[in-house]
Amino acid sequence: MDASLRTRREFTQTVALLAAAPLGLTAPGTALAADEKPETIFALTEALSGVVETRFGKFLTKEQMLEVQKAIARKQRNAEIMRQVKLKNSDEPAFAFRADV
């Protein structure tokens, strides 16, 4: 199964769709931050899709790779939504490492 890179036009269409109609796990009523541009998500999606293409491209058809790219775009949007929650240095992750064995 060969996978080929999507064109920039297809990427742009994907991100435009994402910005217009949030899908999947995005919280209702959330929006990108005022300073967040779709191009940032576009660039991140493109870069991460390249990682998938490099590592796993041989396992994916062109159609599947397109679905992967859309999913990555949604996940990057979710990452941006989470970034909007302001955290302090003292806010630790919800797991604890213990040194005892």
């Binding site: 796990l25 396992f59 679905e67 999913a71 929650v85 955290l87 992750p93 919800a94």
Partner: protein, 478 residues
Amino acid sequence: MADISDDILFASVRELAGMIRTRKLSPVALAEACLDRLDKLGPKLGAVVTVRRELGLKEAAEADKEIRAGKYRGPLHGIPYGVKDLLATKAIPTTWGALPYKDQVFDHDATVVRKLREAGAVLVAKLAMVEIAGGFGYNTADASFTGPGRTPWNTDYWSGGSSTGPGAAVAAGLVPFAIGSETSGSIITPAAYCGVAGLRPTYGRVSRHGAMALSWTLDKLGPMCRTADDCGLVLAAIAGADPLDPTAADKPFTYKEPLTLPSPPRGEGKRPRLGIIKGSSDKGQPEVRKNFAESVRVLREFADVEDDVALPDLPFGPVVGTIIDAEAASAFRDFIESGHSRELRAPNDRWGAYAGATILAVDYLQAMRVRGLMKKAMDDLYAKYDALIGPSRTTVANPIGIDFDKSYPGMYGGPPIIQAGNIAGQPALSVINGFGENNLPTGLQFTGRVWSEAKLIALAHAYQQKTEWHKKRPKVGS
């Protein structure tokens, strides 16, 4: 000795225990009846992976012998059950619902299986599940190598997942109880779609040793039964600390009867305090909303119910999705990198893990740090109530053959009850509260503060004492 009639097959664990303890019912006869039913109806419901006939009958015979000798272990002694096929069982396959794992055999039993054996329960089946517990993003009911799980109320519709087999098997009277699991919705959803009682315990209440790990910080094992009261009996047998699972808390759960709720007339004393999760019934199918409204009317007979209790305004969906993606990508790293995803059943599962594997470490840690705030916010909210309630799902079961996102357009949305509860590690209990279109059941869920399972069971039991929905039986195989 009682004949194994439908009344027996659809009896609760508590009712069966009474008959077995007084030797009016033979554990061997009961096991044989369940095994026959599993063989005959299990495949039609897509509910069964492996029927454990020989070993099951051996355990039933041992139970019978012990009980005759006066050694009665408790209410699960001699009771047949099934487990979702992500729980390790010695000598028979543990398939994780996925074709690449269909011949996988472990050399040990999961702690839950061991504890149930010590309680005298009789394991008769490994039950079907969505492949890899749904962690790769399936969007269709046909997502198990055993085919789609079907709700016995209308077999053209999905049983709900990822605990497809446990939900269908209990609803159809194939087993009196089953063990399911939930990472984010996988007990509550099949409980709702199959019309059974499903309890998602507090994270850490039940050992995960021997269970397939999809997401280490979200996975929970819990009972699926005919009644809320039965969920208490089963939880008491499986809960507790385990040196093999450091996340299993040293919080014993004892249960003999449901808690007695205070029941003064309205205005004359403290009654249970419930809150309706704001927006939980604004969207959804009309019958779901109508059944929920009627449930609230019943609950107001013994509890004070406050309207419009809003969940904290935090991004529960993105957080739970990020955590599952990252932890699943790590837990299944070898599988993903080997290309075995191509052998999975559901189209989305064949590529979904690759997208999940792109979560950045800083984003996973962001999710886990935000999760800490969410836990505190949820606990602050829930401290004011005995439980918050809502419909278990906004629709009835999905039709088989239509992708989920196309099944019921416009019927989804509302507050992220399941995501929020799972992120915070809180318990929830779904019970049947009526029927909707196409003779499909609807569910009412009670959600509570961490470690409040006894209270949720008591509330759901009180609801079931005033309603008859849990006594209805699907026609399959009758």
